[in-house]
């Protein structure tokens, strides 16, 4: 059952830039489901993988500040839709719990900035929230639009399912598949569903980053997928942005919240559907909202 007070929403930087369609569709989906979201006040960047590569103390303190703001006494869970943000928050909790010297460092930082401790804050990803708090059956009952986009390759990426196993299991996760099936979409058996997209490599060692994504897309297409669906803004960016460089047919790469939001009767204009680059024509065709199916 969803918490009656809803969730504290930690967007992260990507949701305001390359991943804006994820934020739009997430907000619209939660509006349709009647689940309140409140944005975490004055949240800061999670530090992603770069901070951890430069300085561990600062990397953990970035997340510690966000967690401290979230410990507002309301008992609401934090919802973190970006896999990198989710992992940064979870890793901070985990490091503080298991390493006394790290805990001392983090507590010193919080004290110096007059920030309260963050014990007891729960960090969650929307995939797991939708799966556990709303549930597959409840979603199935709310479907008002038929899926027309062909078979889906559910791509989970890395940091949401590894190294922590709370969002889904690390080997062959199925929760996104189950949600897609619940709204009438068939999913393929996709062995590369947790193989990494390379993160920021497309921007640094471009050919290597693109090659990783090309392998992911080719395999999805070979297994008969008409589109790919992701739960992370960086995965979506990498898979969507460079298909023209790969040769082969383009396949659309959507967020799971776009598919769910549309199936549950969300406003087609508020799902960020015009923001995809690959397969934009197919997306326009699938999501054309007709009068007779509008709930």
């Amino acid at each position: 059952m969803p918490a009656s007070g809803g969730y504290l929403y930690f967007p992260g930087c990507s949701m305001r830039a390359t991943g804006v369609a994820y934020e739009e569709s997430l907000l619209e989906l939660f509006r349709v489901l009647g689940l309140p979201l409140e944005e975490l006040e004055d949240w800061n960047c999670c530090g992603a993988t770069s901070y951890m590569a430069v300085d561990e103390g600062s990397a953990l303190l970035l997340s510690a500040r966000n967690l401290s703001i979230a410990a507002d006494g309301s008992g609401r869970d934090v919802m973190s839709p970006c896999s990198a943000c989710y992992l940064a928050l979870r890793k901070t909790q985990d490091s503080v719990e298991h390493h006394p010297e790290i805990r001392a460092q983090v507590e010193a930082g919080l004290r110096a900035a007059e920030l309260r401790p963050f014990h007891g804050v729960k960090v969650r990803h929307p995939l797991e929230i939708l799966y556990n708090d709303v549930g597959v059956e409840a979603l199935r009952e709310k479907v008002v639009r038929k899926w027309r986009g062909g078979k889906i390759a559910c791509y989970y990426g890395c940091q949401a399912v590894r190294p922590y196993h709370e969002v889904d299991r690390p080997h062959n996760p199925m929760r996104m598949d189950e949600l897609m099936n619940a709204v009438g979409a068939q999913t393929i058996d996709y062995a590369l569903k947790t193989k990494c997209c390379g993160g920021s490599l497309t921007g640094t060692i471009h050919e290597v980053g693109v090659r990783l994504n090309e392998l992911l897309i080719r395999e999805a297409a070979r297994k008969g997928a008409g589109c790919m669906v992701t739960i992370c803004p960086l995965c979506q960016f990498n898979l969507d942005m460079y298909q023209a460089e790969m040769g082969g047919a383009e396949i659309p790469v959507l967020y799971f919240t776009q598919v769910l939001g549309w199936a549950l009767g969300g406003d087609g204009k508020k799902l960020g559907l015009k923001r995809s680059v690959a397969g934009a024509a197919a997306i326009r065709e699938w999501f054309e909202v007709r009068e007779e199916v509008r709930a």
Partner: protein, 192 residues
Amino acid sequence: MKHIARTMKYQREADPEWSARFRELPGCERISSCIQCGTCSGTCPLSIYMDHTPRQIIALIREGFKEDALGSRTIWLCASCYSCTVECPQQVRITDVMYSLKREAIREKKYPARFPIPILAREFYAFVRSRGRNSEIPVVLRMALKSNPLVLLGMVRCGWNLLRTGRMSLRREGIKGTAQLEKALSATKEAA
């Protein structure tokens, strides 16, 4: 003629004390338990591009070949996907080991010159420290200018696609609590 160099190391070139210190860092405690099975290298999506595979990096650390481990491109190619960490039969937290190597390589300026990944990490670090949030465009620009400005040419199409689909943030992102954040970050330095 191709440059001929010795590819094998002598034992006296190793630094066992460094190895012992490194293995005590948080997350690196299980390095000694490695059985050199190579599962990490097999599961790594990037090992085919690395100069030393993850298994070899662990072996280098264990023997104390500090310069080779810190100077390797491997640690920067690691995208932190945690596949090795999850699959390791000996619970070596290889991703965390890579992070520890990255930090030491940056501290000691041992990373390969003009290699864009550590440059991106440092630029990202400085930008977020001053603003509290990341803005992709200025950070990517700074990385390119300090590594290889020609890569910007290859980014033109991506930039145009982001712009026309409304996915490029042109605002100056930032937080109100930058002073508070700086206090917290400086205090951890002193506590460490």
